[in-house]
């Protein structure tokens, strides 16, 4: 039983040649149709299908076409070519609290939002009590929502959406909203729906979520499907794909040095892109020096999905700098116990003059690694630790700090 089918779907956006304000007057439209209009194909001949009860993940870099698929599935826009077949009721959990009007009460907004999402009035009435309980806003349900805290707003919005009973559920980064307790609720509800046999389509950057939720995954790039398979297979393909590519960041003057390669290795010395939390890994950065630098420093940055820096490896940690002679050189970093939590991390690298912030070379997103964990560890990072059961009278043990990593 096929629930969802994309048949040779293509989507084209017409982009104006020169910068023009949207929805300009009739006259300027006539003028511009003579000028250059470029076509941008967000999707090119995409076909896939989803069986009943299956959960499909769609991953890919920004601009790959994921949000276009989202818009097409939720019927917000129409394809330029091809057809989309949807068998059953599709609900999209894209934005929580859509349609909320600040002047209306929580109850009135529940009716409004619920009907926008496709529920019948009678359905909303019968589920009203449960919606209020799930959101935990019973005391405030008859107060205008402009008085709600942002937490209440999001909880009510999600509660309404959680009570949708769709045949097909479409999800995107909505799971990233709200506090931790709320996110747990979201995840739990989605797992429940999945167990009840709801077909799931999940579009996200959060690879660990995709892995835990999806049986099958599609990899998108520049509007086409370039990979399809199990979550593990496709995520592997995604991270391996991001091999080193050099993009000169500092233009203008000739660079003093140039980063040529960044690669990671496992403890056997083989090239790898997948590592475990708490496990060992090594990185080697090769660079070419054009003009000698007397005091240099090399750093590797591990970047989160959202672009923030998770952590950094740097040669300036030990206090000494590198004397960079002309020619091909390299730096090797190694770590015994990786502190990063599971996820995909993009790697930035830079070379700078020690002691100053003067950058010699900087490569953004030169490669990426995938971190996994066989143990479920909570929190933002892993800290190596040991434990024991001391007797009553014993003093606190002194922890031994390995010499190499002393700051």
């Amino acid at each position: 039983m096929i629930d969802l089918q994309f048949e040779n779907v293509s989507k084209r956006y017409r982009v104006q040649g020169e910068a023009q304000p949207k929805g300009s007057g009739l006259l300027s439209r006539i003028r511009s149709s003579a000028g250059g209009k470029k076509d941008f194909w967000a999707l090119r001949d995409v076909s896939f299908s989803v069986k009943r009860g299956e959960s499909l993940g769609i991953i890919g870099h920004n601009g790959a076409g994921k949000s276009t698929i989202l818009k097409l599935l939720s019927n917000i826009t129409a394809p330029s070519r091809g057809k989309i077949r949807i068998n059953g009721r599709l609900s999209a959990l894209l934005e929580v609290g859509s349609g909320f009007h600040p002047e209306l009460t929580g109850r009135e907004n529940t009716y409004l939002s619920g009907s926008i999402l496709g529920m019948r009035r009678s359905e909303i009435t019968s589920k009203m009590e449960s919606i209020i309980d799930f959101a935990g806003v019973r005391r405030f349900i008859d107060i205008p929502v402009k008085r709600y805290s942002s937490g209440m707003y999001v909880r009510l919005g999600f509660s309404i959406a959680a009570h949708l009973d769709p045949d097909i559920l479409l999800l995107d980064e909505v799971l990233a909203v709200g506090d931790l307790g709320f996110q747990e609720k979201c995840k739990k509800r989605i797992m429940e729906l999945h167990e009840q046999g709801t077909t799931l389509v999940f579009i996200s950057h959060d690879l660990s979520a995709v892995r835990s939720l999806c049986q099958r995954v599609i990899l998108m790039q520049q509007g086409q499907i370039i990979g399809e398979g199990t979550a593990d297979e496709v995520i592997q393909q995604y991270t391996e794909q991001a091999s080193f590519h050099s993009k000169p960041q500092i233009r203008g003057e000739a660079r003093l040095a140039e980063i040529v390669n960044v690669a990671f290795y496992d403890k056997e010395g083989n090239r790898a892109t997948s590592f475990s939390t708490g496990g060992p890994l090594t990185a080697r950065l090769e660079y070419l020096v054009h003009k000698p630098i007397s005091e240099g420093a090399v750093s590797l940055y591990f970047m989160n999905i959202d672009g923030g820096i998770a952590t950094q490896w740097t040669t300036s940690l030990s206090g000494s700098s590198i004397r960079m002679e002309h020619g091909r050189r390299s730096v090797e970093f190694s770590c015994e116990e990786l502190g990063l939590q599971p996820g995909v991390y993009s790697i930035d690298a830079n070379i700078e003059i020690s002691g100053t912030r003067e950058e010699v070379e900087w490569q953004h997103g030169c490669t990426s690694i995938h971190v996994d964990s066989d143990k479920e560890l909570r929190g933002q990072f892993y800290m190596p630790h040991t434990w024991r059961e001391p007797a009553e009278s014993e003093a606190i043990s002194e922890t031994e700090v390995p010499a190499a990593s002393r700051l």
Binding site: G23, G25, A78, I84, E103, L104, K185
Partner: protein
């Protein structure tokens, strides 16, 4: 805080035994089947239409001191100013009816039309957030403004009734013509609002031109004067205005108590009946790509 609420204890939805409907999303086309599928979808979303209409009416007057009485203030103040100008400064013949009653009975249907069109023209553009995030038949948005205008019309009708009683104007059997007249007017307003709201998504200057257009249109309709006041040589052109048949007949059947001028009404009805499906088809055609350009 009941954060530990077990989700599985809430009511299970209706059994999955109900057959699933298949939806096919294809590139926008201009085929008449769009009309049919559009109406089917609209019926499916009737609850939303109802909810949004109620919401539109409520929000209009919420938090305002005068509330619903604004629906009365507008026609009354118009009536006063027109009476002063066209009955005191100068004299327009009304065939015996007191001028204030004469003009009020035309202001009502005109205000309904004017409010419906001017408020719905930007109905889509003012809901950009909704349109880019959630699917529902977009025509619901402009149509709720038409419903809200109708609601205002009914409230203002109370004032008209009071004035008629004051002037001892009796209702005759011809008052039942009001039903087809209102029907034609609603169809006309709906058609034009569908057309304008979808066009405004692409060409924003429609919203700017609206007040001027409606002003001119009003003077081109028998609101402050009667149809018989129009010189014969202009009549062939004058009757092409669909509002002529509506406003003139509304006044005739209500105030004068005589039957409707069927030829005039026929022209208005003909225009409305052709315009509405064409406007709807155009709307559905543009709807597909609205979210891309709004």
């Amino acid at each position: 805080m009941q954060l530990e609420q077990e989700i599985s204890t809430y009511p299970q939805a209706a059994e999955k035994a109900t057959p699933r409907k298949v939806k096919v999303i294809s590139p926008p086309s201009f085929s008449p089947s769009l009309l049919f599928s559009g109406l089917v979808e609209l019926f499916w979303y009737r609850d939303l239409f109802y909810t949004l209409s109620i919401h539109r009416i409520k929000v209009r007057y919420k938090q305002s001191a005068l509330g619903f009485s604004w629906a009365i203030v507008q026609p009354i103040s118009l009536m006063l100013i027109y009476t002063i100008i066209f009955s005191i400064f100068t004299r327009i013949p009304t065939g015996g009816t007191p001028y204030n009653l004469f003009v009020l009975s035309a202001i009502l249907p005109w205000t309904f039309f004017q409010t419906a069109i001017s408020s719905s023209a930007s109905g889509l553009v003012s809901h950009t957030g909704l349109i880019t995030k959630v699917y529902f038949p977009r025509e619901i948005l402009p149509l709720t403004y038409v419903v809200a205008a109708l609601f205002d019309f009914l409230i203002a009708g109370v004032i008209l009734g009071v004035m008629m009683a004051y002037y001892h104007v009796a209702l005759t059997i011809n008052v039942f013509y009001i039903i087809p007249i209102l029907l034609v007017e609603t169809m006309l307003a709906a058609g034009i609002s569908l057309l304008l709201s979808s066009m405004q998504v692409k060409y924003r200057d429609i919203g700017i031109a609206m007040p001027l257009l409606l002003q001119l249109w009003m003077f081109g309709s028998p609101v402050v004067y009667s149809y018989s006041f129009v010189p014969h040589r202009f009549r062939w052109f004058y009757v092409l205005n669909p509002m002529t048949g509506i406003v003139e007949n509304f006044r005739r059947v209500l105030i004068e108590g005589i039957g409707a001028d069927l030829s005039l009404l026929g022209i208005s009805a003909g225009i409305a009946v052709i315009l509405l499906p064409v406007a709807y088809l155009y709307f559905k055609h543009r709807e597909a790509t609205m979210a891309d350009i709004i």
